[in-house]
């Protein structure tokens, strides 16, 4: 790097960085957030179930996911997805999945464990009387959950869920290890092609910082606005 720094490389690669890289990062974040919250809420309901076996299965899943590093989980799904695909479609040989699709699956399954713990805390924060009054009105379990408990739990937990989503947004950069082209992956590819590591990685850091910091400010503001006054 005797030639000094060439910051022009950033400007030249902007379309690739954002239209390809950042687009994938945001798509992955949005998909994993939606899927993760839905699956996480189901897991939370399972964990709080009075049926021992159901809560044990959900508990084991959540604890397993929380005990091993995300990088290892990414590898697990990346290398197992072809076999899962083969099993699902009963194809004769492992199905080609590719890093992008396996990343969607990985982050949904992994983040669900973290969203589950948030939703569990949310559900547990609802007063017992709410559930009883639901049953007293003749609602069944699903109606009580769907109409009374979950809407309140969700509202209480929106700031925490969003904060977890900012962490998810940062964590998606780990798809680098399976060479998916997210924002960091795009930056790394340019960095290695043009040997401009310093410029590209500094720029990536600045962009990630701006997005995450901006989002966290918005969450803070939202938290003040939607706080339920008790």
């Amino acid at each position: 790097m005797d030639s000094g720094f060439d910051w022009g490389v950033i400007q030249r690669s902007l379309p690739y960085l954002f239209l390809t890289g950042m687009k994938f990062t945001l798509a992955l974040t949005a998909f994993a957030m939606t899927g993760g919250i839905i699956f996480g809420t189901i897991l939370a309901m399972m964990r709080l179930s009075s049926m021992r076996a159901v809560s044990a299965i959900a508990g084991a899943y959540v604890n397993l996911m929380r005990s091993i590093p995300l990088v290892l989980v990414i590898f697990w799904f990346y290398f197992c997805a072809p076999y899962i695909g083969m099993w699902l479609t009963s194809a004769p040989r492992p199905v080609q999945v590719g890093p992008e699709y396996s990343a969607f699956l990985t982050f949904t399954m992994f983040e669900a464990a973290y969203y589950c713990e948030i939703m569990r805390a949310g559900i547990q924060s609802i007063a017992r009387g709410q559930v009883w009054s639901g049953y007293a009105l003749g609602l069944n379990y699903w109606q009580t959950m769907g109409h009374i408990v979950l809407p309140q739990a969700f509202r209480n937990m929106v700031p925490v869920l969003l904060t977890q989503t900012i962490i998810l947004f940062q964590d998606t950069s780990l798809v680098y290890v399976i060479s998916a082209t997210d924002f960091l992956g795009a930056a790394a590819k340019i960095a290695n092609r043009d040997y401009r590591l310093v410029e590209m990685y500094s720029f990536a850091a600045v962009v990630y910082f701006i997005v995450s910091f901006g989002l966290s400010l918005m969450v803070k503001r939202l938290q003040v606005r939607i706080a339920v006054i008790r």
Binding site: M1, S67, P69, L174, Y201, A205
Partner: protein
């Protein structure tokens, strides 16, 4: 099924000639733990300092502390890893930068990995320390002042000893996180547990055996840390406060 199971692979020699694959993975776990421990010590020192400074009465000190926390909390770990490994040496004076880059492996990746994890975790420790200090009743600080202690003495003798005992449980989970996060160092070439499981998969194509073994090793580590910390927590719990983990009797 298009996959050939072969659990015996764990007991076959790895190509580097250091022993079996199982041994190869266990050494990897050793690297994960050593990296995490070194980083943890630094993170505790920086984190305690920054966290404490953020609760002082000097607005400038608080602002600088907040800035430090925001910067390192909002950049993904892997990007920070690249910054320490690729970018940081370039901005040092030339001699120093070259000295870092020319360290013999694995130190050339171990040192940046430790520094990165230390700073990344210090921010989280700082948050816990600050929360711990702010959870104390205001009277504690006032009592210190009333007894004629300086602000420094109040922190050292009154506030910090209590705060640290309160934040033990969250610090436990941060310690678990730093072990897990050390796996990100594989991206700059540190051969810790996940990196070695990946390498084993490349040598042998035994995907499931390699990753299953790594997963089990992480689970065992997790259990040991949780049990050890639980014992420690019971010992240092502040009497009179509501126990964070109900003991039952």
């Amino acid at each position: 099924m298009g996959y050939n199971w072969n659990w015996g692979i764990l007991f076959q020699p790895e190509p580097g000639g250091t022993g079996t694959f199982l041994h190869y993975l266990v050494v990897g776990l050793g690297w994960s733990i050593v990296t995490a421990l070194c980083a943890w010590v630094i993170a505790l020192v920086i984190g305690s300092l920054v966290g404490t400074l953020r609760t002082t009465t000097s607005p400038w000190v608080v602002k600088i502390g907040n800035g430090y926390v925001e910067i390192f909390r909002n950049i993904p770990l892997i990007v920070q890893m690249f910054l320490w490994f690729f970018v940081f040496p370039e901005f040092l004076p030339k001699g120093m930068g070259d000295a870092i880059k020319q360290m013999p492996p694995p130190w050339s990746v171990f040192v940046p990995a430790v520094l990165c994890l230390a700073v990344f975790t210090s921010v989280r420790v700082a948050e816990q320390v600050r929360a711990g200090i702010q959870s104390l009743p205001r009277g504690q600080r006032m009592a210190g002042t009333a007894m004629g202690l300086t602000q420094f003495q109040t922190y050292v003798h009154v506030i910090l000893p209590q705060a640290f005992r309160i934040i033990m449980p969250p610090l436990t989970s941060e310690f678990m996180n730093i072990i897990k996060n050390s796996s990100v160092a594989l991206t700059i070439g540190l051969m810790e547990l996940t990196g070695r499981a990946r390498a084993m998969q490349e040598f042998t194509f035994q995907v499931f055996e390699a990753f299953a073994a790594a997963t089990v090793l992480y689970l065992i580590t997790n259990m040991v840390v949780v049990l050890g910390m639980r014992a420690l927590e019971r010992k240092i719990r502040v009497p009179g406060l509501i126990a964070v983990q109900a003991g039952g009797h």
